[in-house]
């Protein structure tokens, strides 16, 4: 009955491709839902728009979802947008050219540039722990902007940094070394689509249609990865110098984070002090809108 617009705040990352594809290919229209993509350039701006009610949905990650919900449930994750696969990592820990760091062991006590309180920090902790590093040996320095991290890594102002795919390739081109990536622990890295709970309650049907549209897009992308070069170039989701050789990752089909994934992330978030009390999986994740 309600033909209301659904507004999604989207960061300029490759994870958002299915949403753009669904919009461009008319999948949303086919499903009978009108979607407005609101581009934002950074996470704080995205959250500001959400907090002031200017958008209904955001591209985010489970940890952030928990932070939103730490007092009262505000938003719920309804679908993975991207996860690490065995073949394509989402994040890599890189060491700068002249740092002399070659192995995970060399990273002990070396400050790694990260962005605090995000999946990047979560992934860094978990991947390094899994690789056998003592938690006390993990040092971190907050540099929220990716471009600053890259510049600092490049000039040796920091010796190590976490970079997302595909930008990590740029650093590697400039001489940075991969020390470890998240393919060793694919459960941690992800991005998700989350909706305001009111929207889910009042416009559940529209949300379902949105997810159906995304599903169509994911299928289309996974089915033919070469078809989207034009769109990628136009949206500039991949830096120009990489575009030519870039191979799109496999996007996850309809799915949400599992209870185990959620519990692990929550434990980490509590240790970090990002949230003060345990949250219910059902308050933060909702698989019922998936097609």
């Amino acid at each position: 009955s309600q033909q209301q617009k659904v507004r999604i705040a989207v960061l300029p990352v490759i994870d958002a491709l299915p949403i753009y594809v669904a919009q461009q290919e008319g999948y949303f229209k086919e499903q009978g839902v009108e979607v407005e993509i609101v581009p934002v350039l950074s996470a704080p701006e995205r959250d500001q728009l959400m907090q002031s009610g200017q958008v209904d949905s955001i591209l985010t990650e489970v940890v952030v979802n928990m932070i939103y919900n730490k007092e009262t449930p505000q938003i719920k994750t309804v679908r993975f947008l991207r996860t690490t696969t065995v073949t394509t990592p989402m994040f890599r820990i890189l060491a700068s050219k002249d740092s002399g760091i070659n192995t995970v062991a060399d990273l002990a006590g070396v400050p790694i540039a990260i962005s605090e309180g995000t999946v990047i920090e979560y992934m860094t902790d978990r991947v390094l722990e899994k690789a056998g590093m003592a938690p006390t040996d993990i040092a971190k320095v907050a540099v929220p902007k990716i471009s600053d991290r890259m510049a600092f890594l490049d000039s040796g102002q920091v010796q190590a940094a976490v970079m997302p795919d595909p930008l990590a390739s740029l650093s590697i081109k400039n001489g940075a070394r991969v020390i470890i990536d998240d393919t060793s622990y694919p459960e941690v890295s992800h991005s998700v689509l989350a909706f305001r709970i009111e929207t889910l309650n009042q416009q559940g049907e529209a949300v379902r249609k949105v997810l159906a549209g995304v599903e169509q897009a994911v299928t289309a992308i996974n089915g033919d990865k070469t078809r989207w070069n034009g769109l990628l170039a136009e949206l500039k989701l991949v830096p120009e110098p990489l575009l030519k050789d870039y191979v799109l990752p496999d996007y996850p089909l309809a799915s949400v984070p599992s209870e185990e994934q959620f519990a692990d992330a929550m434990q980490w978030a509590r240790e970090k002090g990002l949230i003060q009390k345990d949250l219910q999986y059902a308050d933060c994740v909702d698989a019922s809108f998936l097609p």
């Binding site: 581009p39 350039l41 701006e45 002031s52 990716i146 490049d154 930008l167 500039k236 120009e240 110098p241």
Partner: protein, 246 residues
């Protein structure tokens, strides 16, 4: 400002930039030659559009800021009483980073051009207010006496003494605002827009790491400012001819 001086200034800056680029030898600072190439390739296309979007936002917010802050500054500079009451309010609000108000402004105005203009306005307002107020406070009392003796009350003093006496300060404020307004585009044009030089620089510098495009955007900002300065100089000559006699 003469054209020729501007030309040489540009050339000198390019020289310094080239030298710095050669010292640094890193992608974060490409050579101006490369950037100029990109600039001229883009300015008649995509970059031009961003330029116009920013031009509109900067001009609109400057006009609003001057129109509101200059009279307010005059009023405070004119009356010690008013100033004593409002100074603490100004001093409490001025140091707040206005970016924290983005969500509140968005809440009331939505996420459109207007909310961006209002954000720039919030940043410029206090800067202009403080300058014009301090200037108006320094007016020679004999001028005030002489005009009061001609029958002027508060309003006429405002019109015939404080306003013209503060015009040079207002023009200084305009010059400062140009610099500030253009520079804060970078903060303001990050939210829910895909137009404007701020967006252009951010997306190329921070997301795509395409530094030559980013610097083409920086160059465009620089030139946007310069153009507005030329306008301000013309305005100054028009409005304050008495300052240019020797």
């Amino acid at each position: 400002m003469k054209r020729s001086h501007t030309f040489w200034a540009l050339l000198a800056l390019m020289g310094a930039w080239q030298a710095l680029a050669m010292v640094i030898q890193r992608p974060i600072l490409p050579s101006p030659v490369v950037v100029l190439g990109v600039f001229f390739a883009e300015i008649f296309g995509e970059l031009g559009g961003h330029f116009l979007a920013s031009l509109w936002r900067v001009t609109a917010s400057m006009v609003i800021s001057i129109l509101l802050a200059a009279p307010a500054g005059l009023a405070l500079g004119q009356s010690q009483r008013l100033n004593q009451i409002f100074a603490p309010v100004i001093y409490l609000l001025y140091p707040i980073p206005k970016v924290v108000f983005v969500p509140i402004v968005a809440l009331f105005l939505g996420i459109n051009d207007l909310s961006k203009i209002v954000m720039i306005f919030l940043i410029l307002f206090f800067q202009i207010l403080v300058l014009v107020r301090d200037q108006a406070e320094g007016i020679r009392p004999e001028l005030v006496y002489s005009v009061r003796s001609l029958g002027a009350g508060r309003r006429a003093l405002f019109r015939f003494v404080y306003w013209p006496a503060s015009l040079p300060a207002v023009l200084t404020a305009v010059r400062q605002s140009i610099g500030t307004a253009v520079a804060v585009l970078y903060v303001v044009e990050l939210v829910a827009t895909s137009r404007g030089l701020g967006y252009y620089i951010y997306i190329h510098g921070s997301t795509f790491m395409d530094y030559s495009k980013m610097y083409a955007g920086v160059l465009a900002m620089s030139l946007l400012g310069l153009g507005l300065y030329f306008l301000a100089d013309v305005l100054h000559r028009r409005l304050c001819p008495w300052q240019f006699i020797r």
